[in-house]
Each structure stands twice: as structure tokens, then as C-alpha cells.
């Protein structure tokens, strides 16, 4: 089968993959920055370079994510929820529930045995329930995102976050520090707050095992463990959780071809 490029232009990071037969053969990630159009262009170039390919080798490019509408060279955008479903299924076919923690939204998606979406729910409008909350707190604690997860594991006494606002969660973190709470405890508190939100979302869609975590949140071991603790079971997390949607986007294109069309499967909209 031909090579397909999937792109996930997220609100925080842009991810690109090249997929052949449902398997990614190259990955690349860039911070999204402010210019989605430019980042998509750069992502494509660097990804191709990484894979040692040229544009001519790519049969189709398909985009998803917050900035998908800005990918000038892709004719189609697909819903990230469907991408997430396709992406996870290609890695863990047994998954029926996905917790997708992105920067500005957290979504819980339920799948049927064929990997199709049968329910989903999204936490948004307020930034408290998503990766962004963590970014903000890590920033104020002057901790690198990469270290937030491992660090929080050392907490003996996670603080309880009470404000509903991510931005003010920051102030709360500050005042907790001043009351003597450790960074570990605060991070663990954020993870716990997110885990509570996530468990609410999971309740809303109804859980079915297996359950996976995807999105950038999956990179955070502290968050993964908190969610596991809250829900009472182990989560499946792939090696590259952040790339799931990009992989899924490419697979949607493959599926479309398989279904006999040159278009990705239904569920796509044309970028105009």
C-alpha cells in the first residue's frame, strides 16, 4: 500500500507520521507555536527528511486536530475523535474505552468491537480538565513537563485543588507552596484533580474494558498512575501516545481507499 501522511495539528504540539499498512514508519513532533500553516509545512518537510522520503512518495496527506483547517496541502480534515479511535485500534485492538488527554480538552471515547465510536464525551470550555492545567502548574512550579510525572510519584500527601479554574489553580498552587506543600504534593494534587474529572467523564460514557490513555497526557506517568488508582485498573498506554491521532488520521485515509474511494472514510470534511 501507498504511504500516507497523517498530521495532527494540536493546540500545543503538532504531530506527523508516515504510515504504511496501518503501521507508522516515521514520527515527528514540533511545537505548534502560533502559525499552524507554517508549522504544518515545516513538520512535513522535517518528517520527510527524517524518513528519507520526498513528497512524491506520499500518496495522500490528511489532517486532524485543532489547526487542521490550516494544513494547506491536505485536502481533507477528519474529526480527531474518529482518528483517536482508529489510531488506538491499530495498536490495541481490544480497547473499548479511550481516555484522550490533549492540551485543551480531554475526551473519553467508547468503541465497539469493530473499533467504531459508539459514544464520547468531552471536557472543555474550562481549562481545568485537560493537559493545560498541568502545563500551567508545572510552569509556575518551574518544572519541566517531562519531570512532572515522575516527580509527582514521590508525593505522600497530594494537595486538594478546589478552585475550578486552571489559571487560578496556579494561584492556589502558589499559596499551597507558601503553606509548605512540596512540589511533589502539588503535582500529585493536579494529577488527582484531573483523574477525578476523567473518572466523571468515564462514568458519563460508561466504561468497558480494555481502557487506554492517549494524547500527550499519556506521557505523564504521574497522571496515568493517578487515573489508574482512581479507576482501579491498569491503563494501556502505547509507546507514542501523543501520535495516536496522527496515526489514526492516516489510517482513515487507508480505510477510505480500501472501501473503494479515493477519499478517506466518511467522517471527513473537505477543507475549503
Amino acid at each position: 500500500m501507498a504511504l500516507i501522511m497523517g498530521m495532527d495539528i494540536g493546540s500545543g504540539t503538532s504531530k506527523g507520521v508516515i504510515v504504511r499498512n496501518r503501521k507508522p514508519i516515521a514520527y515527528h513532533l514540533l511545537p505548534s507555536g502560533v502559525d499552524y500553516r507554517a508549522v504544518a509545512q515545516k513538520l512535513r518537510e522535517e518528517l520527510l527528511a527524517k524518513a528519507g522520503l520526498s513528497i512524491a512518495d506520499i500518496a495522500d496527506t490528511i489532517a486532524t486536530g485543532h489547526g487542521a483547517g490550516n494544513v494547506a496541502f491536505s485536502r481533507h480534515r477528519v474529526s480527531d475523535i474518529l482518528c483517536c479511535a482508529r489510531g488506538i485500534t491499530s495498536i490495541f485492538p481490544s480497547v473499548r474505552t479511550i481516555i484522550d488527554v490533549q492540551r485543551i480538552s480531554t475526551q473519553v471515547i467508547r468503541l465497539n468491537a469493530t473499533g467504531h465510536v459508539i459514544n464520547f464525551t468531552i471536557n472543555e470550555k474550562c481549562a481545568t480538565g485537560s493537559g493545560c492545567f498541568l502545563d500551567i502548574i508545572s510552569h509556575v512550579l518551574q518544572i519541566d513537563l517531562k519531570d512532572a510525572g515522575p516527580l509527582s510519584l514521590g508525593s505522600g500527601n497530594p494537595v486538594t485543588f478546589t478552585t475550578g479554574c486552571a489559571v487560578f489553580g496556579e494561584s492556589e498552587a502558589i499559596s499551597r507552596v507558601s503553606e509548605g506543600a512540596s512540589k511533589e504534593d502539588i503535582l500529585a494534587g493536579v494529577h488527582r484533580a484531573l483523574a477525578n474529572k476523567i473518572s466523571t467523564l468515564v462514568d458519563r460514557v460508561g466504561l468497558e474494558m480494555d481502557c487506554a490513555m492517549s494524547g500527550g497526557g499519556g506521557l505523564n506517568i504521574g497522571l496515568v498512575e493517578s487515573v489508574e488508582k482512581k479507576l482501579g485498573f491498569k491503563l494501556l498506554v502505547s509507546e507514542q501516545p501523543q501520535f495516536i491521532n496522527a496515526i489514526g488520521a492516516a489510517i482513515m485515509a487507508e480505510n477510505g481507499v480500501e472501501m473503494g474511494g479515493s477519499l478517506p472514510e466518511p467522517g471527513s470534511t473537505i477543507i475549503t
Binding site: V34, G164, C165, S178, G180
Partner: protein, 299 residues
């Protein structure tokens, strides 16, 4: 990286001094005044997670700049969001009352004051130097300095550039998101469409001015209106607010400091009143214990 303002040379004759410390969510401000209410020194530093615990360090710096020792300070009033976390303060007074005091000392005719700080925005109704009513926002970071603090990062700018940049706007962008985080997304979309920075910044200023202006209208605004707090340093917000309210707005020379100034002045009043009445100024033991603690930290 503290900014220091030494407004007056220290005068020999005045033996007692008063300090106001405004531990804000973003900035920590200290003002030291003498018994005439003249500012001897002032200091602004970021609050930050660590600084809050080290409030006395900030205080020490301010004292150093004023060439004073803590013993020479008769009374310390703490104000601001973190006022309860200042161990050496003699008294805590809310920033509402302190700003009202500080502003009135600078603008005796003030009737309405607007304070936009890092974490909240307030409207104060003042008559004859006294606070008689107020409104405050909370909960949502939009409409506070934090809104801009978060967004400057997105724009790749510094907070103190915003005002100037917005003056170059030709068309103010409407920002529809009420949430800071989502406004950020919106801005990114604008940026990616190549919208000029000044227009975006001006839009942000409008967003703040509208939110805060709307809230302050509850007080039935009467001039003279004074705008203070860190955000008042931003000429763009000042203009936007004037436009929204349809009134001229005065800004103190050092808007960050009005809370700390008011705190110091209130401390002075309390002390002088107690002295005049022959009452003890404050509880001695506590004060001694604290000051020793303070000194050991410094030497």
C-alpha cells in the same frame, strides 16, 4: 531582580518609620514611609512560589535600600492576597482599604478607583478618602492581569511592551472567549491568519476593559476615577478603559505601589493614633519575637 525606588533621601529627624507590604498574587510590593507619610523607599519584586515564603527577604531588601533596620520600623501592615502569610506584620488589612487609602493620599478628590492586579480586579467607591463600597471579581482569570500575563507568552512579547504595541493598532480585534485559556486559542488562530500583533493586543485590552468596566459600573461611577494596580502601567488598558467608561481616568505615577503605600499610611495612622491616646501600639512580645526571627534571617 527587584526594582527599587528611592524617592526621598532619608531624613535625620524622623525617628519612626512605617512599612506597608503588599503581597500580591504576582508582585510583592513594599513601601516605607516616615511619620509625615513621605515615602522613603519602595520595592517591587515578583511574588512567585518561593518568594512568598521569603516575604521577610523582600522586606529586608526594602529596609536595606532605605538604610533602616527592622527595629526602626514601628508598624508593619500587610495587605494583598498573601497578607496572612507575613509573619512579621503587626496587622493585616485588605488591599481594598489599603488601595483606597493609598490612592486618596495621591488623589484627594478620587471618588472611584479601579484596581486591576494579577489575580483580581476591584472597583472602589471612595468618599473623603474613605472606602464606602466596592466590587470585586474572582473565579475567572479573564479580566485580570493574569489574562495578559498568560497571553503575552503566546504572543511572544513582554508584559511591559503591550501598551505601546497596542497604540499602533488600526483595527481592534474582538476577542470572544471569556476564558483566558481559550482566548489564547483564539489568539493563536488570529496569529496564524497573519493578523497584526497590535490589533490583537488592542483587542485583549478591550476585553479586559469591558469586563472590568462592566463590573465597576455597579458602583455608579463618579469622577475622579483613578486606575491603579499593575495593569494600570499598561497604557493600552488605560485608554480602553477610558473609552469604555467615557471618562478620563488618572493613573498614579507608580500604580503597583498604591496598596503598599496605603498599608504603610494606615500603619502610620494607627500608630500615631495609639500614641496620641497613650495606648500600646502593638503587642510587645510578639513583636520582639518576630523581629529576632527577622534579624537572624538577615545576618
Amino acid at each position: 531582580m527587584h526594582e527599587v525606588f528611592r524617592d526621598h533621601p532619608i531624613r535625620e529627624g524622623s525617628l519612626i518609620y512605617f512599612a506597608g507590604i503588599d503581597l500580591g498574587s504576582t508582585m510583592t510590593k513594599v513601601v516605607i514611609v516616615d511619620r509625615d507619610g513621605k515615602t522613603l523607599s519602595s520595592l517591587v519584586g515578583p511574588t512567585g512560589a518561593e518568594h512568598r515564603r521569603l516575604a521577610n527577604k523582600v522586606m529586608a531588601d526594602a529596609l536595606m535600600r532605605a538604610d533602616l533596620s527592622f527595629d526602626q520600623v514601628s508598624y508593619v501592615v500587610a495587605t494583598g492576597y498573601g497578607r496572612i502569610n507575613i509573619p512579621f506584620a503587626d496587622r493585616q488589612i485588605t488591599e481594598l482599604t489599603c488601595h483606597a487609602k493609598g490612592i486618596s493620599s495621591l488623589f484627594p478628590g478620587v471618588r472611584t478607583a479601579i484596581d486591576i492586579g494579577g489575580q483580581d480586579a476591584k472597583g472602589l467607591k471612595i468618599r473623603n478618602g474613605k472606602l464606602i463600597d466596592f466590587v470585586m471579581n474572582d473565579r475567572c482569570a479573564a479580566g485580570t492581569g493574569r489574562f495578559l500575563d498568560v497571553l503575552v507568552g503566546t504572543l511572544g512579547l513582554r508584559i511591559d511592551e503591550l501598551g505601546e504595541i497596542s497604540l499602533r493598532a488600526t483595527h481592534k480585534l474582538p476577542i470572544s472567549s471569556t476564558c483566558t485559556v481559550f482566548a489564547q486559542m483564539e489568539i493563536m488562530a488570529w496569529l496564524s491568519q497573519g493578523t497584526p500583533l497590535p490589533d490583537i493586543v488592542a483587542g485583549l485590552h478591550d476585553a479586559i476593559a469591558n469586563r472590568v468596566g462592566k463590573m465597576v459600573k455597579k458602583l455608579k461611577i463618579e469622577p475622579e476615577v483613578v486606575f491603579t494596580g499593575g495593569v494600570a502601567k499598561n497604557i493600552g488598558v488605560v485608554n480602553a478603559l477610558q473609552e469604555y467608561l467615557g471618562l478620563k481616568v488618572s493613573v498614579p505615577a507608580e500604580p503597583l505601589l498604591t496598596g503598599a503605600l496605603g498599608a504603610a499610611l494606615l500603619g502610620k495612622e494607627l500608630t500615631l493614633k495609639a500614641m496620641a491616646e497613650g495606648k500600646p501600639i502593638h503587642e510587645k512580645e510578639l513583636r520582639l519575637a518576630e523581629s529576632t526571627f527577622f534579624h537572624t534571617e538577615n545576618h
